[in-house]
């Protein structure tokens, strides 16, 4: 049973290049390059130093923030550097990485899991998942423990497992479902237990019949806790069937409005590979230190279990792929992936695919002919052509009014555009410009408040200074008048006794110089003013 969203593309899959044989395991590379930021959220901080010996599975970077994911050593060895290194990112910029020289011993840190997870509290399970550094492996790399902590006022009724894997060429989830079906189901049960959901739907594109059958079979064999109702549903193979909101609509008929999370509609969606990692973390005590990566694009493709931090060059060498200048190297799929300029870039938690393709011919962009093909294929029912006009003319208010931020950057519109307009590039340009404007504004607001406070402080200090002066002056004036009074009194006293006796005078004013010094005090003070 499923409802279908409008738009999308029927693409040639190229899946059989890589999904026909069992997955293989890449050897331990000499050097591991492990970025501190492999997730959405706060940057982690290293907890090891250069020169430290690390064991396999040891936490090497973490963050106090909740929305973050710990980072672990994928193999044993020595930390040789903590430095900026290029990573897979369209900017080609470098970001902080921990570099480990491996010793090949694969010495594990002590770790243990439990299959009796129901003995543990839900909070403890979430904490273990967070400490294992698990993030969404479908591509969004959002920290999993955050998704397992819905706001207290929402009740999650449905858990969806995303096994659609809709982008051409990529088959790592397909192979994982075929090879580790029971582990995926156990990971799913742990997530369902944490979220207290009674109902799970697993969505798989209908171009993966073996994965579907293996999971069905495993479901009948695996003892899950009884109150869990699990459905496995095949969905039509239309790109992007695996988009979160698209899959939810297909499986439940529910539309998630703009700016809303599925959780607000009682739905949480996890990728099948994430479930496998949850199983490993809880049952075996193994943090996220490796993943299945599809290496494909040439005659023969592979699915390779690869340690996080393995340089792409090592992986390419292992499967005998030799990129030349005629090739384009992509991390991810052909529709949404990132072109790479350099093979020293490491495999990270998000790397589902390394695609080595012949570079497509350059196409000259032509003017938009308003054919509206882009709007027909948009799975979110946006107006790509209108978005393009506003991005092009930098009308960033108007572009948000027509829901730029609902665009999932699936690339369907660019794919069909007969004028070869790089539409998605325009949307990404507009999005990052808008974010940047927002950041600038916040920075300016901070500076304005601080400057206003600065002016206020100067004003206050000026006032205080003036006050101090005034006070000093009045106290001085007081001493002055007091002194004058005293002097007057003395003269009076002097005058009076002179009439009576000289002796008295001597007593009252024993020292004339003394009286002189007293009278002169105010003058001295005056000079100080």
């Amino acid at each position: 049973m499923h409802t279908m969203w409008s738009g999308g593309l029927k693409l040639k899959g190229y899946k059989t290049i890589s999904n026909q044989q069992k997955s293989i395991t890449a050897p331990i590379p000499n050097t591991l390059i492990i970025p501190l930021q492999q997730h959405i959220g706060q940057l982690t901080h290293p907890v090891v130093q250069v020169g430290d010996k690390v064991k396999k599975g040891q936490c090497i970077a973490q963050s106090k923030h909740f929305i973050s994911a710990a980072v672990h050593a994928s193999s044993s060895g020595t930390v040789t550097a903590i430095e900026n290194h290029p990573v897979a990112h369209p900017s080609q910029l470098a970001t902080p990485c921990i570099i480990i020289k491996t010793d090949g011993k694969e010495e594990w840190i002590t770790h243990h899991g439990t299959s009796n997870y129901q003995q543990l509290s839900r909070a403890e399970l979430r904490d273990r998942i967070g400490k294992a550094g698990i993030v969404g492996l479908g591509g969004a790399v959002f920290p999993t423990q955050v998704k397992l902590t819905p706001p207290s006022d929402t009740r999650i009724t449905t858990l969806i497992l995303n096994g659609a894997e809709c982008e051409p060429y990529i088959t790592c989830d397909d192979r994982l479902m075929r090879e580790q079906a029971s582990e995926i189901l156990q990971g799913m049960a742990i997530i369902a237990y944490i979220l207290k959901v009674p109902h799970v739907i697993i969505g798989i594109e209908d171009n993966k019949p073996q994965a579907y059958q293996t999971l069905q079979h495993a479901l009948s064999q695996t003892a899950l806790f009884p109150q869990l109702n699990v459905e496995i549903i095949q969905v039509p193979t239309i790109y992007p069937a695996g988009g979160e909101k698209q899959l939810i609509y297909t499986l439940t008929g529910k539309k998630i409005p703009s700016y809303e999370l599925p959780a607000q509609q009682g739905i949480v969606c996890h990728n099948v590979a994430t479930c496998f990692s949850v199983y490993e973390a809880i049952v075996k005590g193994i943090p996220l230190i490796s993943r299945l990566v599809t290496v494909t694009g040439q005659k023969q493709g592979f699915n390779v279990r690869t340690l996080i931090g393995t340089p792409i060059q090592d992986l390419l060498d292992y499967v005998a792929y030799h990129p030349t200048i005629k090739h384009t190297l992509i991390m991810g799929g052909p529709m949404m992936g990132t072109a790479l300029s350099n093979t020293r870039i490491p495999i990270v938690k998000a790397s589902n695919c390394i695609l080595l393709q012949d570079t497509p011919p350059f196409e000259q962009t032509m003017p938009c002919i308003r054919c509206a093909q882009c709007s027909h294929v948009c799975p979110v029912n946006l107006l790509p052509q209108q978005l393009y006009w506003y991005a092009r003319s930098k009308e960033f208010d108007k572009i948000q009014d027509i829901h730029l931020f609902d665009c999932i950057e699936c690339g369907c519109c660019s794919y069909v555009c007969p004028s070869h307009i790089p539409l998605v590039h325009y949307y990404r340009y507009a999005k990052t410009e808008i974010w940047n404007k927002e950041k600038q504004k916040q920075k300016a607001d901070l500076a304005r408040t601080r400057h206003e406070f600065h002016l206020f402080r100067l004003e206050r200090e000026k006032k205080e200074k003036a006050e101090r002066h005034k006070k000093k002056k009045t106290t001085l004036n007081k001493t002055k008048t007091d002194a004058i009074q005293a002097a007057l009194q003395r003269t009076k006293a002097k005058k009076q006794p002179t009439n009576n006796s000289d002796k008295n005078t001597m007593q009252n004013d024993p020292n004339p110089t003394d009286s002189h010094s007293q009278v002169s005090t105010p003058d001295k003070d005056k000079s100080l003013l």
Binding site: S91, L93, V424, H425, T432, A444, L446, A447, R448, R450
Partner: protein
């Protein structure tokens, strides 16, 4: 029935007049245009516009005493925004006031600093920490890059550094006319 209508229209008229009066009476005092202009200025507080800061410049623009192209830190983007707000022509930056440059922050060489506090007094946003005869340091996040702390330093130990581009702050460039058939890149 008619009475009700009269009363209602009377009330409407009265309130309308009240509103109109209020608009005129309170307009000058709140001067929202100055605040609107100020909201578009970068708040670097550098004084390159020849005013004592962004707010005074905003006041001068509002009074038509200054042109909209005198703020180098804001550059083209600020001129554009001001032109839009004030319904004026977009004009190029008046380079007599300086050139638009990459964002910078001040760094104090803590070895050389003698702790004279002169830079603290110059900083328009109180972004420098330190006490007399103690080494000073700049709170990088709050430094606007105005460079006002440079001239007073008697030992020239403050330098400006272009802020390195963070991967988080990276922006997609404006697309050029060539493209490959890879839809996402």
């Amino acid at each position: 029935m008619l009475n009700v209508l009269f009363v209602l229209s009377g009330l409407t008229l009265a309130f309308g007049m009240l509103l109109g009066y209020a608009a005129v009476r309170f307009k000058v005092e709140s001067s929202p245009i100055v605040e609107q202009i100020d909201a578009l200025l970068p708040q670097t507080q550098c004084g390159q516009c020849n005013y004592a800061g962004c707010h005074p410049y905003a006041q001068a623009i509002a009074k038509n005493e200054a042109d909209i192209n005198q703020c180098p830190p804001g550059g083209e983007a600020t001129i554009q925004a001001l032109a839009e707000l004030l319904d004026r022509e977009i004009i190029p930056l008046n380079e007599e006031h300086g050139r638009h440059d990459l964002p910078k922050v001040a760094i104090i060489d803590e070895q050389t600093c003698i702790g004279c506090t002169l830079c603290i007094q110059a900083c328009p946003v109180d972004a420098i920490l330190g006490a007399a005869k103690q080494m000073h340091t700049v709170i990088t996040n709050e430094c606007t890059g105005c460079e006002l702390c440079l001239p007073p330093c008697p030992v020239d130990c403050i330098r400006m550094e272009t802020t390195t581009e963070d991967i988080e702050d990276w922006r997609w460039p404006y697309p050029n006319t060539y493209t490959t058939t890879l839809p996402g890149s």
